[in-house]
Amino acid sequence: MTCLLLFLQFISLKKSAFIILLSLLGLTLQAQLCTLKLSGHLEDADTREKLVGAVVTIRELGMKIVTDDKGDFVFEHLCPGPYSLYITHVDCDPMEKVITLSKDTHLDLNMPHARKSLGEVVIEAQKGVPNTGFKQELAGKALEETKGFSLAEALSRINGITQLQTGSTISKPVIHGLHGSRILTINNGVRQEGQQWGNEHAPEIDPFIADKLVVIKGVDELKYGSDAIAGVILVEPRPLRLQTGHAAEFNTAYFSNNNQYVVSGTWEEQVKKWTGFRYRLQGTFKKGANIQTPNYRLNNTANEELNFSVTAGWKKDRFNAELYYSQFNTKVGIFTGSHIGNLTDLLTAIAAPKPDDVFLGQNSYSINRPYQDVTHHLAKLKSTFYKGEHRFNVLVAAQINNRKEYDIVRSSTNTRPQLDLSILTLSQDIQWEQPRKNHFSGTTGIAATQQNNTYGGRYFIPNYDAYTFGGYLIQKWSKHDWEIQGGLRYDHKTIQTRRLKYGGDTINNNFNFSTFAASTNVIYKPSAKWRTNLGISLSSRAPYVNELLSDGIHHGTATYERGDIFLKPEKAFHLTGNINYQSGPFQLDWVLYTHFIRDFIYQQPVPDSPVLTIAGAFPLIKYSQTNALLMGSDLAFVWKFSPQLEWQSKVSILFARNQKTNDWLILMPSHRLSNELVYNFKEGKRLSESYISLEWQDVMRQSQVPSDKNGKQDYKAPPPSYHLLHLNASTTVQLGKQKITFSITGRNLLNTVYREYLNSMRYFTDEMGRNIGLRIRVPIGKTKS
């Protein structure tokens, strides 16, 4: 073991005349005795992302190695003995580690974030690929292109994600054909508990909060619930500023179709006086008038939104805490011509090629009945502390969601909502992240949620209290080209419902559900170019209150919806494969998936037992269960012809079967394809990051719909296929020291008349016509050192 040290001492002490001789001796000795290997893996202690490009130095030998794209390094031909390692990375404080080598050794090291590292660099590091199984994200340029649109519309730019719409202003995301309570939305670390009962209930989140939108599937889903059957959407804000000083950003946008304007601003600061204290203020205001289709304008389709958030963070060496509050307020008009009194009216309205003129033509910002008014409050406290290399996170969050729906009423003096639901949710999560050791790292956690719903007005869902308790365990192993991950989760949910009927009757129902989930992932990277990933998961979702107990007329579809208190949890088996190739000008990402869902809950029309009411007979639709099989593929391809020109292509295909009726499942997205040509301009003195892109989107007709052999399933055949042209262009201008980004977005440039199968307004109206958006983004930054 001492040979090397002796050798080094000799070099420094003895005269140069001996050097050559001794060197030769040293080399011979090394060849004989020094065969040890020191390998290691580096991760960021805060983000758990692999540290690529970290420099590992053995001080005694002056040997340096840069970690590869897996965060790994290997020194070979080492002699036994003590060494001191010195490790540096742009994001982290340098680290010193002394080891004594006596056999081949592997080190797993977590490097803490630098307290004074540059804020911008930290952001870049966050955009790296954390070691999650299946992940797709929308960030940077692609996210900027969606600023001013809804969360679901932004997400629909991700391959495999579509939207379920009620007009142009209400939309919810659909992942691989599944939506609503099968998708968990995590808003800044907290599981969003809004009101996702119906197709016309959009997620209550301001997309301007997000620095990136991430969709994950597989093992990491288990941190959020056992019921993420379709996947998890993470709405991730930028981390708070680490660097002393302040920064601000101002965004504004105008959209031509409905004269919509959006103003959004952010201010963040790290106060010099109190090292460790940072905060951020953020707000968005949006107001749009009635929507214009190519041939007519739809009355009462205006919308407005006012959102803000406050974040305060405290960071010490071994402890940090973040306090966050956000408020989301929206008021959305619903096209008057779609509010249907009874089935006869619905059939008349559907038969008409266009809505009656009384519902058309007003260019106005005013919102009348019917409309929705939704408020969502979120407060959270997240604290993280370290014990040795172990990390503990404690998250406590409270959410209040109030949804008011104002229907068309007979008396214009009536100002009350017809539906008024308030949901209070408290959630607690405790998480332990064990440090990486012997190639293993892991996360263990427990979670509890308490929820209370009260309602006033029309009956839709009952008052209820729900309690969920769960626990999970995730382990990840990675070595060189291989990564294996696995996890388990169990949740228990109790729901106690009380309906207090107007006659004084009370209807109580109590439910208990246990749900279990398990997931595993094997990732293999045969070379830097290829990454393959195979995942198998089980997940299960307890029925929601609306599926169990809804009982009433749904005015949007002129149906009488009835729940079923005997529903069992849905149990899903998923098999997902992914191949990713990146080399030079080519990038390819191909996902193949199969979801088998036992006891899949869906709405089954019961044609032979209509419900007679004073407004006439309504077709009955009952929540039922079947076995569903969904199979599909998402393919994305990028080819950079030249440094300037690139072609991007996306294909998404889905087949969804109802196995009990041996038929197609209703309301599934049709196959779609998009091709985009991007021209990136050369960086200029005044203009930078300039590009223009044209996108051609083809959406096939949905031909896979249930047949009428079990009674009428739908009122209208799916609309024909459609083809849209979109445009995006952007440039950043340097004006003195100030940068300003200007961008243009054109949706449906050719003003094509079309209807989308997944928009319930397809029964009545065409989709939105041409919409040109102009955006200005002004970042204002000031940094003190």
Binding site: I408, Q428, T454, Y459, V611, I614
Partner: protein, 187 residues
């Protein structure tokens, strides 16, 4: 500091666990929008017994099915008919007819008697603009017969409502609030 925050977290977790004790339920408030009952009062011209026939669904849509009276009238007579709408989900029952007459220019009743019913329904009252409303009407019976009468209440949601004399029962300008079919018998 760290310990304090740890304690705070624990306190908040506990607070969550006990929160359910401070809940309060609201009672279903369907008081304003439900019409449970349509009552037709028949006063024969030239004297005679006043007749009352109901469509009645006291628990509102769903639940127990509604009861619908058969309208039984004498042959070759004229009745003046008054229509009343009630909400029986509240006590005492609420009269909704006044809501309709207050906004007569946005509402209209249509009466469709089947050809076999031997009924002629005319003389509907008008709204302030001279367009038929239908809270009162005149029913003339023919010889002995059985048939049906369908009564529809249409509501004009537009501002202004644009209600016009020529509007048919299935006009796309208006929506259905009530659609009730009675069996009729002249004996």
């Amino acid at each position: 500091m760290k310990r304090n925050l740890n304690m705070l977290s624990v306190a908040l977790v506990l607070a969550g666990l006990v929160f359910s004790s401070c809940k309060k339920d609201k009672v279903e408030g369907n008081d304003e929008e439900v019409i449970t009952t349509m009552q037709l009062t028949f006063v024969p011209s030239g004297g005679g017994t006043t007749l009352v026939y109901d469509y009645d669904d006291p628990d509102g849509p769903g639940g127990t099915a509604p009861t619908i009276d058969e309208i039984v009238l004498s042959p070759l007579k004229t009745y003046s008919v008054t229509l009343t709408l009630l909400n029986k989900t509240v006590t005492p029952a609420e009269d909704i007819t006044t809501e309709i007459s207050d906004e007569a220019d946005a509402h209209r009743f249509y009466f469709a008697a089947s050809s076999s019913s031997n009924l002629l329904i005319s003389g509907l009252d008008d709204d302030p603009n001279g367009v038929p409303l239908g809270l009162t009407s005149s029913w003339t019976t023919g010889p002995v017969a059985t048939g049906t009468v369908k009564i529809t209440l249409r509501h004009y949601p537009g501002t202004p409502p644009n209600k016009a004399i020529g509007d048919l029962v299935n006009s796309t300008k208006s929506g259905t609030d009530i659609e009730v079919t009675f069996n009729t018998k002249i004996q």
